[in-house]
């Protein structure tokens, strides 16, 4: 049978064997955590604690009145030593609550088995999800209760759990699917109940046959959940490509969203967090992170408290091996390069990847030779080479006409480009320049 997939895409070497199959470990409690007040897209939170205040694990330390936001909880018990600007994985300095551990690791409210979540109403469940501070754990970190509250006129008929993990190196979702199979399936059932949707899918690339098998076993007898094996191809785990592969539907260009074609996507890690939140009342204070790369001595899959510093985690994994070339939050295709190891784990951190010097993409950028490899690789069916040239020459009208805002910045074009062109960088520059110009125009009016 032909495996489901999308048109375009690339086949980067996976390197997942570095950490695949390694049981999720819990390192010793961090001495200090730095929890940024901006964890996700949407409104940043305001601190609800002050310097010197004692907090307990799971206590809300920041929140916002805005709808598109989720509260932030203390991930350890201890004393707030500062609320100040601190390096954030995005590269900026953002206000963070710094907590020094009292090493007691006491709960503010101990998670306990409550009411069967499947007996609760949709609104009650969503309230619990917001209270637990759950955001999309795939990377974008969009507040989950918002994603689960589409406008009434959108007719949602499919929930898809994303277990694709198409970024090379990362194995956190894979390992979680193996260790928490049942909980993830329960999470999906909760989402189905919230949305009142009949059909749920779990999409997994076929390079994780053990996870596929476990999921199929766990969903046996559940006629409303289908486990779908997908072709191994990057970016199969991108929302739009996943919907295309499983449902055969194409999400319209921005501002089009998955809900416009009746689908809501959640990462498997999010489903697990939802299950824990609504069943036990456990807030999102930790997540699974893959620490890997040829620059890491002992790659691992770890359960980490939000706010733990990269340096501490790298240290726990045996430190740096050889000469580090790049330190990334996330995978090598879309991850963010870090300038310091003093940045904290945030809710959207799926991995810490240390690339060795030799692995770095180098070589000067040359003129496009029109080879069309980027066109064949682009999963959004754009012409990346032209987009790059337009942005390079500040031809923003042309770039917009060439659908620059369709670009999901997956990096497939750069991966294949024989001329070493920095196409994603140019597109990012073009998008921001266009948006800035539009904002200015609006202000004039």
């Amino acid at each position: 049978m032909k495996l489901k997939t999308f048109l375009g895409g690339i086949h980067p070497p996976s390197h997942k064997n570095l950490s695949a199959g390694k049981k999720i470990e819990e390192p010793p409690l961090p001495k200090t955590v730095c929890i940024p007040l901006a964890q996700h897209i949407g409104a940043p939170c305001e601190a609800r604690v002050e310097k010197g205040q004692k907090v307990k694990k799971g206590e809300v330390i920041a929140d916002s009145q805005a709808f598109v936001s989720a509260p932030i909880h203390a991930s350890i018990s201890g004393t707030v030593t500062a609320v100040q600007d601190y390096p954030h994985p995005s590269g900026k300095k953002i206000k963070a609550v710094i907590i020094e551990s009292d090493e007691k690791d006491e709960w503010f409210r101990e998670p306990k088995n409550g009411q069967d979540p499947l007996q609760l109403s949709s609104e009650e469940l969503k309230k619990k999800i917001r209270e637990a501070g759950i955001v999309g754990l795939g990377g974008a970190a969009f507040p989950t209760h918002v994603k689960l509250s589409p406008p009434k006129e959108k007719n949602i008929d499919a929930i898809i759990l994303n277990g694709v993990e198409c970024e090379p190196y990362l194995t956190a979702d894979h390992q979680l699917m193996l260790e928490k199979t049942e909980a993830i399936v329960k999470g999906l059932q909760i989402i189905l109940r919230i949305m009142g949707v009949q059909k749920g899918y779990i999409g997994i690339e076929v390079n994780k046959p053990d996870a596929l098998k476990a999921m199929k076993k766990a969903t046996k007898g559940l006629s409303n959940i289908e486990v779908v094996g997908l072709k191994v191809k990057y970016p199969q785990g991108a929302e739009k490509q996943l919907i295309k592969a499983i449902l055969g539907r194409e999400v319209p260009p921005p501002p089009g969203l998955p809900m416009d074609v009746g689908a809501v996507i959640q990462n498997v890690g999010t489903a697990y967090a939802i299950y824990e939140a609504v069943t036990f009342g456990k807030p999102l204070i930790e997540r699974i992170v893959t620490v890997t790369g040829r620059g890491i001595k002992e790659p691992k899959n770890l359960r980490l408290r939000i706010g733990t510093l990269f340096s501490e985690i790298i240290n726990y994994c045996g430190g740096i091996q050889g000469e580090a070339g790049k330190v990334l939050m996330g995978g090598p295709m879309m991850g963010l390069a870090q300038y310091t190891a003093q940045v904290p784990i945030i809710k959207g951190t799926s991995g810490i990847l240390v690339l060795s010097k030799e692995e770095l993409a180098s070589g000067e950028s040359k003129h496009c030779i029109n080879c069309g490899m980027c066109v064949r690789a682009c999963p959004m069916h754009l012409i990346p080479s032209s987009l790059g040239t337009y942005c390079e020459k500040d031809l923003f009208e042309e770039a917009e006409a060439a659908h620059i805002f369709n670009c999901i910045e997956c990096g497939s074009c750069v991966f294949v480009c024989p001329a070493n062109r920095h196409l994603v960088q140019m597109v990012k520059y073009g998008k921001s320049a266009i948006l800035a110009a539009k904002k200015q125009q609006q202000q004039k009016k």
């Binding site: 194409e250 740096i320 029109n370 066109v375 959004m380 369709n406 001329a419």
Partner: protein, 337 residues
């Protein structure tokens, strides 16, 4: 914290705070570079080149070397004069020089090869701003300028002399296509298709050995640097159009297999038309491009003044390439056409 741990921690700080690279994603690339592609093209041209040397002896080798040296030197000189970075090491000039040499008759005087390769580089490529900017296939620019400048020398053919052959007398002989043009079907009555396939005939150094050309092209296909679209659509078009005429009047028109295997069709379709810079980017565009080359080629062969038309066909379609690219843009994901 143990002393060792402190050491590791300092080591992390040292490494991360001072020496790591910070840049926009993606952070990995595949191994394919422009020069890797160019050197693979040279490798892919090896079977056809060797066949040329086998059939025409050392003069063929000399012409190929002159072509490569001429093109590389021309590029180095012009880039020095213009104060540009010298880029001959990317291999593209060598490809141009070799491709030009492969389209020349084995009897061509040495200086014409040098003039041709210099023109290919300067008028074919540098004048437009170098690799990636040229609208026309540089090697074919060189060839066509030579053809117009020295029509006699560019159409003086000989039968294969064979490498290491005792006989040193080259026998002047027209190419099968030229015979067809001048004498009609009767002239090519005893041309064997197997000879055309293997290259045992008169013609340009690199165009005669069809099998060797296909072998090299197969290598490029396997590497994934080219796609099948252009050569297949071009060859199928030539086959169909010549086939139609043959069916209409087999006493006047040669059979389609003869058209496929003779002249420079295979070399042109596999190695000239597939030049990345001057061909369309999408598969749809490539098919239109290939069909256009096939159609123009066969029209020139059947009705034109020249016996062969592949060079002109490719150059004409090169000119149409931006237009083809414009009208064959892929439909963006999620967009209603």
């Amino acid at each position: 914290m143990s002393q060792e741990n402190v050491a590791i921690r300092e080591n992390i700080q040292d490494l991360l705070d001072s020496r790591v690279v910070v840049s926009v994603s993606p952070h990995i690339r595949n191994e394919v570079t422009i020069s890797a592609i160019m050197y693979c093209v040279l490798l892919a041209l090896l079977p056809a080149s060797l066949a040329g040397v086998y059939f025409f002896g050392f003069p063929a080798l000399k012409i190929m070397l002159l072509g490569i040296i001429g093109a590389v030197a021309a590029e180095a000189i012009i880039q020095t004069l213009l104060g540009q970075k010298i880029s001959v090491r990317d291999g593209s000039a060598a490809v141009t020089g070799l491709l030009l040499a492969l389209t020349l008759p084995p009897t061509i005087p040495w200086y014409m090869v040098l003039v041709g390769s210099a023109i290919a580089i300067i008028l074919g490529k540098s004048i437009y701003g170098g690799l990636g900017n040229n609208p026309f296939n540089p090697a074919l620019i060189g060839r066509v300028v030579l053809l117009i400048s020295w029509p006699v020398q560019l159409t003086r053919w000989q039968n294969p002399t064979y490498l290491f052959s005792k006989s040193i007398d080259a026998v002047t002989a027209a190419t099968p296509l030229a015979i067809l043009k001048n004498e009609g079907l009767a002239g090519i009555a005893d041309v064997r298709l197997l000879d055309l396939l293997l290259g045992n005939r008169s013609g340009c150094i690199g165009e005669i050995a069809v099998l060797a050309i296909l072998l090299g092209f197969g290598f490029l296909l396997w590497k994934g640097y080219v796609t099948w679209h252009i050569p297949v659509s071009c060859i199928v078009t030539v086959f169909l159009v010549s086939g139609i005429f043959w069916l209409i009047n087999p006493n006047q028109y040669a059979n389609p297999l003869f058209h496929l295997l003779s002249g420079g069709l295979m070399l042109g379709a596999c190695f000239m038309a597939t030049d990345m810079v001057t061909s369309p980017m999408t598969s749809k565009g490539m098919i239109i491009f290939g069909m256009g080359i096939g159609l123009i080629t066969i029209i020139i062969r059947l009705f034109g003044g020249y016996p062969e038309g592949v060079s002109f066909a490719i150059l004409l379609m090169n000119a149409g390439c931006p237009l083809i690219d414009k009208y064959t843009k892929p439909k963006a994901f999620g967009r209603v056409p």
